[in-house]
């Protein structure tokens, strides 16, 4: 009986590892912490936040950011540019100040305001939970982040700014603290991708 349980445990772990994209060029995680059920459940919470306008609007499928709670294309069509910070007279920081501008729907601000760069677009828009989880765990597609850097990313000031985007913008569906807990749980329990 013990042998049977052990065999099942090993099989589940291997399946989990494969689902997490725990292969070459992916983010290494500690094998003994893997809990695929808990990890996937945590990611589904994370996914709600990542697909909310506050996160997805700056991770668009195209080269123009999205805007508003309805994810419409950003008015005045600013372009991503090579470094993600815009082009010519249309650089993000020309309007987006280091802090939020006062007033309803006035430009939100952060010193790091930008899209991901052109050579690492890190698209959220249109991604299924599985696609997005695999993308985030893939070192080649996640901005070259290892596990520690991924964990740290949730503490990034620009990520945190998603919960303080100024008047007229709905915050993400989880609190910032809930998000960080779910993010850590997802990664620490294996960074497992959901089935779909």
């Amino acid at each position: 009986m013990t042998k049977f349980v052990l065999t099942i445990a090993v099989l589940v772990s291997i399946t989990g590892l494969l689902a997490s994209g725990f292969r070459k060029n992916t983010v290494p995680v500690a094998i003994n912490n893997i809990d695929s059920t808990a990890s996937v459940a945590a990611f589904m919470e994370v996914y709600k936040v990542l697909m909310s306008p506050r996160c997805m609007n700056c991770h668009p499928a195209g080269d123009i950011p999205l805007q508003g709670d309805d994810n419409h294309l950003h008015t005045m069509s600013p372009i991503r540019g090579k470094d993600g910070k815009g082009v010519y007279a249309m650089k993000c920081s020309n309007c987006h100040q280091p802090t939020n501008s006062p007033g309803l729907n006035a430009p939100p601000g952060n010193p790091k305001w930008a899209l991901p760069p052109a050579d690492m677009k890190m698209v959220f828009e249109g991604r299924s939970p599985r696609e997005l989880a695999l993308q985030i765990m893939d070192y080649k597609r996640n901005g070259h982040k290892n596990k520690a850097q991924l964990i740290e990313h949730a503490r990034d000031t620009l990520v945190k700014a998603g919960w303080n985007m100024g008047e007229g913008r709905k915050p993400p569906p989880l609190s910032y603290t809930e998000f960080v807990v779910a993010w850590d749980e997802w990664i620490n329990k294996g960074g497992i991708a959901p089935a779909n």
Binding site: M76, Y88, G103
Partner: protein
């Protein structure tokens, strides 16, 4: 006290650091070439250069400009002879003129970074500058002309 260099001149300003740069320029310094349009960075009428970048002065707090260099339409050239200013006159771009300072300051950044812009480059650079008179075609023509003048000046 906030010190700012505006059009190569230093100003020591005893002012609330939250004050928009636009109001410092217009109401404190008296440089009224830069216009107030929307107040929320949507129209481009208030564009000035902050360390060479085309910021919207209506939402740029004076604290961001502390110790930095600001250039307004009045300081773009010594004798109003920047290629864009000359091209603007030659093409007779202006109708009411309210947006033109912002248009020219935005275009100046484009021409600094791209010596031979295409129509598409111009669209990308000036998409955020609105002209209610609809002088866009003349603006585009003048930018091409200014780019040609600039290239000629460099060669000559």
């Amino acid at each position: 006290m906030i010190t700012v260099t505006i059009n190569k001149k230093n100003y020591d300003l005893d002012i609330d650091p939250e004050t928009p740069l636009l109001w410092v320029l217009r109401d404190v310094i008296g440089l009224v070439g830069t216009k107030y349009g929307c107040g929320v960075a949507q129209c481009g009428a208030c564009v000035v250069h902050l360390n060479g970048e085309a910021v919207r002065s209506c939402v740029t707090k004076i604290s961001r400009a502390a110790g930095q260099k600001v250039v307004t339409i009045e300081g773009l050239s010594e004798k109003n002879d920047h290629p864009l200013q000359k091209a603007w006159m030659e093409v007779d771009v202006v109708q009411c003129g309210y947006c033109q300072a912002g248009q020219i300051m935005a275009a100046a950044v484009l021409l600094r970074e791209n010596k031979n812009p295409t129509d598409d480059d111009i669209d990308k650079a000036l998409e955020g500058n609105i002209c209610r008179c609809g002088t866009y075609l003349r603006i585009k023509k003048a930018i091409h002309l200014a780019a040609a003048m600039q290239r000629k000046n460099v060669k000559g």
